[in-house]
């Protein structure tokens, strides 16, 4: 028989989508953990130290970035492929379409994976522009534990004092929550690791996980907008300590 091509089979493609998705989930968890240091009442010392640590990884940082980019591209391309398959496999749709409920896990979240994913895809360049490349946000250096580091904290505080930016972030992070609600459990099903007993449990865990991620990422802009320090007086206040 002809050599089966694992990667181009429907199953192989799901496996890659799942692995890349879980890798991106890992990134998100680390990213949120780092971001939560923004909430510490230390004038941004912990957050700036974290940002500095990342930036000083040197070549390792670029390896991580390349890895992320590869996982991201693989994930996006496969997702678009699934959608194209869908159009090709059912050119004539139904006049009426309804979910039967019961064991069905067809939800707004599962149906909108491509849309939520694409919004996140469009969001990332803005996010990188604003905070990684530090464009359109104030540049400053600050001393943390005796070393002079880039004041990313000031950039974040300034950006989120703008209600448009803050609420846009909230909206995108809400969509991220929707994406994770279906994506997280679905990845395990795609990898074939789910036993019948585990499916309901993991489905619930996925909901809790998605909610935690969304709440965590949403809390930051909302906190900065309403309770965050005033960027104008921020460094003066820190200096006065």
């Amino acid at each position: 028989m002809s050599k089966p091509c694992f990667l181009s089979s429907t199953i192989g493609r799901k496996v890659i989508a799942a692995i890349s998705g879980l890798a991106l989930v890992g990134f998100i968890v680390v990213h949120l953990a780092g971001n939560l240091t923004l909430l510490l009442p230390d004038g941004g010392a912990a957050f700036n130290a974290y940002a500095h640590k990342l930036a000083s990884l040197g070549p390792l940082l670029w390896v991580a970035r390349a890895g992320l980019l590869i996982f991201f591209l693989a994930h996006v391309l496969l997702a678009i492929g699934v959608r194209l398959d869908e159009k090709r496999a059912r050119p004539d749709g139904y006049a009426l379409k309804a979910s039967k409920g019961g064991p069905s896990k067809q939800t707004l979240s599962s149906r909108s994976m491509l849309v939520t994913g694409l919004v996140i895809l469009l969001f990332i360049p803005f996010h990188v522009w604003m905070f990684t490349l530090n464009k359109g946000t104030p540049h400053a250096m600050v001393e943390v534990h005796g070393t002079l580091v880039k004041d990313v904290y000031l950039a974040v505080v300034t950006a989120f004092k703008d209600p448009v930016k803050a609420w846009s972030y909230v909206a995108v992070m809400l969509l991220l929550g929707f994406h994770l609600r279906h994506g997280f459990w679905s990845a395990f099903q795609s990898l074939g690791v789910l036993r019948p007993k585990w499916t309901p449990a993991l489905y619930t865990v996925a909901f809790v996980f998605a909610a935690l991620m969304a709440v965590g990422f949403i809390a930051l802009p909302v906190y900065m907008l309403y309770f965050g320090p005033n960027p104008e007086t921020l460094r003066v206040a820190v200096a006065g300590h």
């Binding site: 089966p4 089979s9 059912r90 309804a98 039967k100 064991p103 789910l194 036993r195 499916t199």
Partner: protein, 257 residues
């Protein structure tokens, strides 16, 4: 009971189809949806109109021949129920019932509500069998199958191949059907000889037939009249990954699949 039946009419495979509405009266609540269509067809025949073509055979939910999308759901709104077992008492008297054929590129419409499910036959022919030596039947207990394994295999073997999973899937994927067959054979000792070849070939044929990919919506499990679980799909993925790996190893050893 009275109904306004909105049904898909299409005179042939390449003809352009469309919905037609008919009023039917005198329907008993105990009648099945197919019997309601029988009443409608009798009415149409008397009026000199072509009756609505639809598939049915056993009319007791075990053969997998019938299959309609009723009010947007494959086999109608009832869980674990075939179209032939769907009773009219589950519908609102005087309401509209919308009936469409299963929709998928791999299930082309032949006429009205009848679709060609030959794609499933070709998937079965690709690997949905076990090879046994012909001759006298082997002793019943010569091959031992543990009770729990037999039960599990039976859960998958309950698939009647009706195609509702494809019809209900937002992507028109055949994953539930194919996975039920692969799982059933992979569990039983009789299925071991062709285990890897079967997984590779059946999945290969499924992809070749042009079914969509699976997005884990689990709508298929809800539509399945036999309640086949999507854990079969997880098993199929494991089986396929295992088979792809072993196939590679055997090819290196000079064997091949």
């Amino acid at each position: 009971m009275k109904f306004n039946v909105k049904v898909w009419r299409q005179s042939g495979p390449n003809a352009k189809g469309g919905f037609k509405q008919y009023a039917v009266d005198g329907i008993l609540p105990e009648m099945s949806l197919l019997e309601m269509l029988d009443v409608l067809n009798e009415q149409l025949t008397k009026q000199g109109e072509e009756p609505v073509a639809f598939d049915s055979d056993c009319r007791e939910g075990i053969c997998g021949t019938c299959g309609l999308v009723v009010d947007g759901m494959a086999h109608g709104s009832r869980l674990k129920c075939t179209t032939c077992e769907l009773r009219m008492r589950h519908f609102v008297d005087g309401g509209t019932v919308t009936i469409e054929p299963f929709r998928a590129k791999s299930f082309p419409v032949i006429k009205d509500l009848v679709v060609d499910r030959g794609a499933f036959d070709r998937i079965m022919a690709a690997g949905g069998y076990v090879s046994v030596n012909a001759g006298s039947a082997p002793d019943a207990n010569a091959v031992l199958v543990p009770k729990d394994i037999a039960e599990k295999a039976m859960d998958s073997a309950a698939c009647i191949g009706c195609g509702a999973c494809v019809a209900a899937c937002p992507n028109a994927s055949a994953s539930l059907f194919v996975s039920a067959k692969i799982t059933q054979f992979s569990l039983l000792p009789q299925g071991q000889a062709e285990r890897e070849r079967r997984a590779l070939r059946m999945v290969g044929q499924m992809d070749q037939e042009g079914f969509g990919n699976c997005s884990n919506h689990a709508e298929c499990e809800a539509a399945c009249p036999k309640g086949i679980s999507i854990s079969n799909i997880a098993t199929m993925r494991r089986e396929y990954m295992r088979a792809a790996r072993l196939h590679e190893e055997r090819a290196e050893a000079g064997g091949g699949g």
